[in-house]
Structure formats: C-alpha cells, structure tokens
Symmetry: C2
Subunit: 375 residues, 2 copies
Amino acid sequence: MNALVVDSAGFALHALEAHKPDGRAITLYGREPVELQGPVPSPGPAPSEPPAPHLRWHPFRGEWVLYAAHRQERTFEPRPGAWNPLAPSGPGDAPTELPLGVYDVAVFDNRFPALAAAPGSPPPAAVPTLPAMGHCEVVVFGQRPDAPLSSQSVAQLEVLLAVWGHRTRLLGTRPGVEYVLPFENRGVEMGVTLHHPHGQIYAYPFVPPLPAAMLAREREHYYRRGRTLLESVLEDERRRPERVLYASDEAICFVPAWARYPYEVWIAPTRPYATLDALDDESRRALATALATALRKLDRLWNRPCPYLMVWYQAPMDGRPHPESHLRAEIWPVLRAADRVKYLAGTELGAGLFTNDLVPERTARELQQVEVDAR
Amino acid sequence: MNALVVDSAGFALHALEAHKPDGRAITLYGREPVELQGPVPSPGPAPSEPPAPHLRWHPFRGEWVLYAAHRQERTFEPRPGAWNPLAPSGPGDAPTELPLGVYDVAVFDNRFPALAAAPGSPPPAAVPTLPAMGHCEVVVFGQRPDAPLSSQSVAQLEVLLAVWGHRTRLLGTRPGVEYVLPFENRGVEMGVTLHHPHGQIYAYPFVPPLPAAMLAREREHYYRRGRTLLESVLEDERRRPERVLYASDEAICFVPAWARYPYEVWIAPTRPYATLDALDDESRRALATALATALRKLDRLWNRPCPYLMVWYQAPMDGRPHPESHLRAEIWPVLRAADRVKYLAGTELGAGLFTNDLVPERTARELQQVEVDAR
C-alpha cells in the first residue's frame, strides 16, 4: 500500500492508497513514507443514488454541456460552525475527508462528482446525449488550513507537482479518459466555500473544447516550425524580458503579451515537456520555483490573498504522441485592483471578446517590482 | 432633428438626436414625439486623451483580446450619495447623462468606450495588433430608476425592440462595423454598479468569436436543410412543449434542451428574421410579449430581481445575405437557487465544459408554474 511512486536520484514521493467507509478512494502522498495514525473517515454515508451525470449536445455552440443533477440534490448535514471537512479528523471528531497521519498532500474522489466512473444511461433528450464518464478528484494541498500554495516552500510545491504528475498518469490510463486537467479555484470571488487550500482534478472522456482549440493551434505551429508554439513565444520573451517575472534555464514565469485578465501569469518549463508526469527532477524544481514566485507576487501585490483560477494545460492522454504540446499553467486573477473584481459580462461571455483595462507590460512591471523570496 | 424612424400602420417611433457638451451623441426615443425640456448634460468634461483601445492576437486561442487602458484611468468625481448618472437632470442638478424631457428610451455614446470610432495606432507589441475600432453605446431603458424591464409593459418593450433595431441599422452601416450586439448585464452578481435599468450595445469591427462559431453551425444547417437551425429546433419544441414558457404563432420563449445556465431562457420570433431591424409590427409585438413573459417569470421565481446576462444574437452587418441567421435572445441567469450564485470556474472557464446541476426539463417546469400576466 505504501509505495514509492516517484523515485529518482534527487526526489522521492511516497503514496498510500486507501478507501473511505463510503467506498471512495483516497491517496495520501509524502516526501517521507506516509503513515496513517487513525481510521480513514467519510463525512457522511454514500449517496443513496449513484451519480448519473450526462452530456447533451449544444447544436449552436457545437459543444457538450454537462448535467450533474445529483449535485444540486446534495444534503448538507448540520455541523459545528468551525467544522472543516478538509482538515484531518481523528476518533471523537466530527468526521472529515482526511485521516490523522504523516503526509503532505491528499487526493480523494469528489463526493459529488460532475463526471462519474459508471454514469449509467442518459435520460431521453431532444438532442444527442452521452453518459458523462470521467473522474473528479479533490487535491488537498496540505494538512494546515492556513497554508495556501503561496506560503508553501519550493520543496512542498515540488511534491504537489509530482502528485499532479502521478494523478495525470493514473487517471490518464483509466479506460475512456482522454484529458486530465488539474486546477485550483481560489477565493470567494471564484465561488470557493471551503477555505482550506485545495484544488481539483477533472479527467474528461474527450479533450474539452478549450484545450482542444488551443492544441489545434499548437499543432499547426509545431508542424510548420518544428518546435512548440510556447518555445517560439519563450524565445521572444527571453530576448526582450519586459514581461518576465522569473526565468531560469529550466522554467519561466511571465505575463503573456495577450493577457486576457489584468494580472494573468503563465508558468512553464522552458523545454517542451508534454505532461506533468514527464517532468524530471530539475525541471520540476525549477517549475516549483517559478510557481512560488508567481503566487507570492500575486499575494504580495495588494497584500491580500489573490483570488484566481489556476489551470494546468497538458497533452491529451489518448495514447498518441503530442509533440505540439508544451505543459503550462495559466493563472487568471479575478481582480483588476485590490478591491475591484474583474467581472465577465456581455462582451466576454456573450461575444467571446475579452476586455482588459490594463496592458500586460504595465501589470508585468507592477509584478516585477513586487519583491519575493522564492525558496 | 425629431424624426419618425419607424412609421408603420400599427407602430411609430420618434427619435431626437443631440450632442452632449463633451461631444458625445445622444438619441432620445419615444412612441410620442420627443420633447427636450432642458439642456443636454454631460456628467463631466471630455477625457483629456481620446480613447485609444487596441486589439492583440492571442496565438493559443486564436482570438483577439481588447485593451482599453483609458478605462482603468478614469477618475470618479465626488458626487452626492444619491446621484444617479442615468436619471434625467435639469438646471441646478448635478449633471447626469440624460436631459429632462418627454421620451421613453435614451441611447448615448459610452463615456469610456472599450471600442472607439477613431482609436489611433496600436502601440508596438510582441503579437499582431489592430486598432480597436467600433462603438459602445449605453441604452437607458426608461426615465424611472425603479422600473426594470420585467416591470415594463409590452408596449414599452416594443419601443425598446424598435430602438435596438434602429441602432442595429445605424451602427451596422457605419464604416468598418461588422456586428452589432445589444446586451444587458443585470445585478451586482454581474458586476453592475449603476442600478438604473440600462443595457449596452457594442458594434464590433469583426464578427466576434462566439457569434462567429454559432453562425458557422447555423450556416451548415441551413445549407443542408434549407431552413434555419432555430426553425428546426422550434418545430421540435412546439411538437413536445415540455420546455416552452410561451408560444404564439409569431414568437416563442423556451428553456433550451442544452441550457448551460440552470434557468437559461431563449426568446425568438418563430419566423427567421435575421436582425432586430427586420421585425415587422406583429412579430415585434409578439417578441415583446415573449420577452415580458420570460423576464417576469425569472423575477417572480424567487421573488427577487434575477441577475442575468441577456444577449441578442443577430446576423452580421457585413452587407452579405445571411439566410442562416435567426434572431434570438439568450438570457443567462447567474443564480442556481434564490441565494446561490452560479460561478464559472475550472471546468467552465478552463476547459470550456459547462456544468449545470439542474436539467432543463426541471427548470422549465418550475418556470412554467410561475404565473405571470404578460401584457
């Protein structure tokens, strides 16, 4: 059960797999061997109905829409006010999602998943349907409720990157999975109600519309130029680093010249690793440093936790080679000033044309001037 | 100056054009001849710098991003607490955007437009750029600050539809404009800070990505089937009206079988009018009735003003025929329950896969049961 899932010269990652009383899987990860110091809890019984999400075809947009009716029906059991479902709980505590023990990061099946491993048949509908096959996992970034990623050491972020890599490999080889997307919604402005630092991973049965559209452009570039689109971009950024926030031989963090959100930041390895799983020790460490730099600068910018969406784009897990794919994270802060939310409205959502009141060169300069210690 | 811009057997629309002290255009519209009863105000002087928005190419998404740096720089003059810039102001009042007078609807140039009539040259950037040519107008739905569209009579909504039609024609024939999009962002949940009922119109120099993608699918359907995609959909809806909220021979209001937002509602004429400008008296009146029904049901559903984005999709104004285009409004409420906002996060914004916790047949049933008097 306690296995070494990454074991290289400079880095080791231990994992311990278990099952919750309600049947869901949980995996605890650590740089040191993982130790369970109590039973693995569930915050409640298994739902009486198994989740049966389905997809319907939107004939105007030409994309699938996901219906997860079981999520709206979920009951919220009364709990003590300070109850934190993502903190470890021991015997006598109100049960949470995590056990007591020695581990750094925990990953478990979402209790109310939008995509399900065995979703059953869709109900009849006026448009084409599909069962919404897939997996939804919750990734708890640490045992402490008050330690956001921006406060974590580079060594801790290395663990997280290795965990994301391991989940990508595991989920990506499950039948029917074509794309694995790790992301973090952060802050009440993003709709987050649980404040214990955590993210999610969705494993989709197809490459979703947005990554698919971007990969098509990346493929076009790759076959025309013989290198990834991001490699071409990074060469420009390095030559004229006015939007660069951090750069080493192995990783970079920059405000793209086409930022849609005012303080948008991209993070990438300089070499075209296709997936999180493919990173070597050196690139993983450099990427963790770039990530630490970005997150700390964003939190230091206005001296408040910055609400954002962080998405990690990687190659499809469809068994085919993807030389066009170049791993990257995009961080989209949803503020345009310390106290002003960037709302998406008519022109963004209705027309698909993003409007940004701040040019990237200006936000990059502001973020360059925020001094942080990236260790 | 006071002209009849719509003059048919059953319906007349008067318009009076004027200019504000800062140079911006304003047009007042009414079913009766418009009467100005005071000077046309501006809330402040013209900006010292003319707006110079520009577009940059996003090489991964393959779309333009709009930079309107002058908007962030705007100064907010101190004002009395109750100052409402969208209410009429007379001599002695703090000046607003609207004059005293007899009129129903007012349309004026946005003071801080995201797109500009003469945007100048873009600054140098690392990606392709374009001047952000276009027009941004504000549409004030009435003189009363407390009369949202849901409270307006069908006759008043007819005026608004005729105004949108007139603006579509006017803006659509200005040089360089290819697409006219009327929309309303409603509610603080949509980022709206001015509560006086109003909407906006953007006139774009190209067909924006989202309407363009939908029109491509509509075109494909039209050339395969000889009728619009929406006509095919409406035939199905009428045959089995489980998601229909209102239907007459001329107009329909329904929850689409592929709703992305929990209480999403579409409104359309049954016949394939391509633009708002093309509506005849009968279809305009029926569409106003359908619109009244939808907006009243949404506000009555939870007995609170429903925050939403309403977008009117129509044919491009590119001088070419668009038999595939079929005018419609999409209303996207941003709540999934009376007190729960539908946030867009990882899977919606990051993957492009919308997740809806409520199936359309259920929300349609709920909305069908909300009784309203649509007059």
